[in-house]
């Protein structure tokens, strides 16, 4: 019956307890090393790039230039509008005066116009000079040439007018003289009925003279009008040229600024891509690195790496030795084992060249 083995011994419980403890111990021993391996080692290889420079400074400068150019453009537009208004007003005045007054006034008007033109040109020149020296130079040269040509033309015109006037006067005087002589002769010859005849003759002559005078005046008027129109045309052309020069200059500046900011954006993108590239390289090298035993605590070696265009390793050499030959060799072997770095191809082509050479710094970290 069951009563025979009523006593419960201690053998079985002891075995069970020992077995339990051993199982727990074995579980802890087997599990913990695996867990310890899992966390990755901290960055023990540091990579530094040999040849890239930061572009942030350039970017700042470009931004400033752009702001300045914007301000200047607004100012310049305002001034141009003002000059145009001024010119329009002056042209109106000039036409009125031309209709009313004679050549002297035309002269004065031309002077005033010249002054206005001069002022406008100076302003334009100043602005152009500030932004683009070259464009401004050309504009000024063109301006000067146009001005010289215009002055020469004006001079020739004036001379021609004066000559024509003198000719006309001389002719009129000669005719009057001739008529007077003829009259005197006719008087002397025919004294009786010459009076009425002479009167009629004088009357006719006077009419003819008035006619001639009127004709001359009309001609002068037309001439003046033509001149004024030509003047206005020339002025408009000059303004146009000045504006074109200014626009060309400001566009050139804008283009330069845009190109620069594009460059800055490209450089930034390239820097980001390159950072990721460097990180990848560093990780690959870290994983491939077998640290030799008995490394002195502060040992650090710098390896200069040169890559081919598709990321293959051209050369890995010690840039700065740690003083421990085995350590240096292990660093170079790590780079060789981690090569090729195919990620280089994913970089923008413009910066690939920069990242084909870089330094890797190997430090074992604080291993106890």
């Amino acid at each position: 019956m069951a009563r025979q083995d009523r006593r419960v011994g201690y053998g079985l419980p002891l075995l069970l307890a020992i077995g339990l403890h051993l199982a727990i111990l074995v579980a802890s021993v087997l599990r913990f090393p695996d867990e310890e391996v899992a966390p990755p080692s901290t960055s023990i290889v540091q990579a530094t790039l040999v040849s890239t420079e930061t572009t942030t400074d350039q970017a700042q400068r470009a931004e400033e230039a752009r702001a300045r150019a914007d301000a200047r453009q607004a100012e310049e537009e305002e001034e141009a509008a003002r000059a145009e208004q001024e010119a329009a007003r002056q042209a109106e005045e000039v036409e009125e005066e031309a209709a009313r007054q004679a050549e002297a006034e035309a002269e004065a008007q031309r002077q005033a116009e010249a002054e206005a033109r001069e002022a406008a040109r100076r302003e334009a020149e100043e602005e152009a000079a500030r932004r683009a020296a070259k464009a401004e130079e050309q504009a000024r040269e063109r301006e000067a040439q146009a001005e010289r040509r215009r002055q020469a033309e004006a001079e020739a015109e004036r001379i021609r007018q004066a000559e024509a006037e003198a000719e006309r006067k001389r002719e009129a005087e000669a005719e009057a003289e001739r008529q007077r002589q003829a009259e005197a002769e006719a008087e002397r010859q025919r004294q009786a009925d010459a009076e009425a005849e002479r009167k009629r003759e004088a009357e006719r002559k006077r009419e003819a003279e008035a006619e001639a005078e009127r004709k001359r005046q009309a001609e002068a008027e037309a001439e003046r009008k033509r001149q004024a129109e030509a003047e206005a045309e020339r002025k408009r052309q000059a303004e146009e040229a000045a504006r074109r020069a200014a626009e060309a200059a400001s566009q050139g500046l804008d283009r330069a600024i845009e190109g620069e900011s594009d460059n800055v954006a490209n450089a930034r993108q390239a820097t980001e891509a390159a950072n990721s590239f460097i990180t990848l390289v560093r990780r690959a090298v870290e994983q491939a690195w077998v640290i030799p035993p008995n490394v002195p605590a502060g040992a650090a070696a710098q390896v200069t790496v040169r890559l081919g265009p598709s990321g293959e390793l051209f050369a890995a050499s010690i840039g700065q030795s740690s003083g421990d030959g085995a350590f240096d060799r292990s660093a170079i072997q790590a780079v060789e084992a981690a090569a090729p770095f195919a990620e280089l191809r994913q970089l923008p082509t413009a910066v690939q060249r920069d990242y084909r050479q870089f330094n890797l710094r190997f430090r074992p970290g604080d291993i106890r």
Partner: protein, 229 residues
């Protein structure tokens, strides 16, 4: 570097006092588990035996027959032990005195003794479990404090205190506390469970003793009435 923080490595590299503490805790844990297993088996067996005896007792069998079923020299346990000691005393006293009062008193005393022995048997080693449960956290804490003291002493000698220099010391110091808790937690749980179990069994024995006492009382009452007639 990797295996310097594994538990066996830490235990092996710990200072002597901490190692001693961990050894004590290890032994305590081992013994407490031995007690746990042994007591669990004992309780389960006692429970089964009690159920079997009660079925037999209440099956209408003659008490003399039941008493004679087991040889006298064989040790019995639980309710059967109580019954046998009570019935033996009853038979002995029946031959010597005619006073039912004296007989019942003697039977009751003998049954109380048997019950007390049963209580002693069931609660054996449970006190050890309670001791381990309450003391081992303190022992482990002592080991931790001692280990941290040692780590700070060695830290004062170091030039610069990085986490790497302190961490192994702290880790090996904390292992002592972990082991203390490892020993204490099962001990607490099983102490509560086993003592509740034994209390329940002893309650059942007591109930049985009372019932048996009332049966004997009824028999004596009938006999005295018959004797008086």
């Amino acid at each position: 570097m990797n295996d310097s923080l594994s538990i066996p490595h830490l235990i092996m590299n710990a200072s002597g006092v901490v190692q001693a503490v961990m050894l004590i805790l290890m032994i305590g844990s081992l013994l407490s588990w031995v007690v746990i297993f042994q007591r669990t088996f004992v309780m389960r067996r006692a429970r089964k035996a009690h159920r079997r005896f009660e079925d037999r007792f209440w099956s209408g069998v003659d008490l003399n027959e039941l008493y004679r079923e087991t040889p006298a020299e064989q040790e019995t346990q639980g309710a059967e032990h109580v019954f046998r000691s009570g019935f033996r005393e009853f038979n002995r006293l029946m031959a010597k005195t005619r006073s039912p009062q004296a007989i019942l008193e003697g039977v009751q005393r003998s049954m109380r003794v048997a019950w007390s022995r049963e209580e002693d048997r069931l609660n054996l080693h449970l006190v050890f479990l309670a001791t381990v449960a309450s003391a081992s956290p303190y022992i482990g804490l002592f080991g931790t404090v001692w280990g941290i003291m040692g780590s700070f002493q060695s830290l004062s000698l170091a030039q610069q205190a990085t986490l790497a220099t302190v961490a192994p010391w702290i880790a090996e110091a904390l292992i002592a506390t972990a082991m203390g808790l490892f020993a204490a937690i099962p001990a607490v749980i099983f102490y509560n469970r086993l003592s509740a179990e034994s209390g329940r069994l002893l309650g059942k024995y007591e109930d049985f003793a009372e019932e048996f006492h009332s049966i004997l009382h009824r028999n004596l009452q009938g006999r005295t009435d018959a004797g008086a007639d």
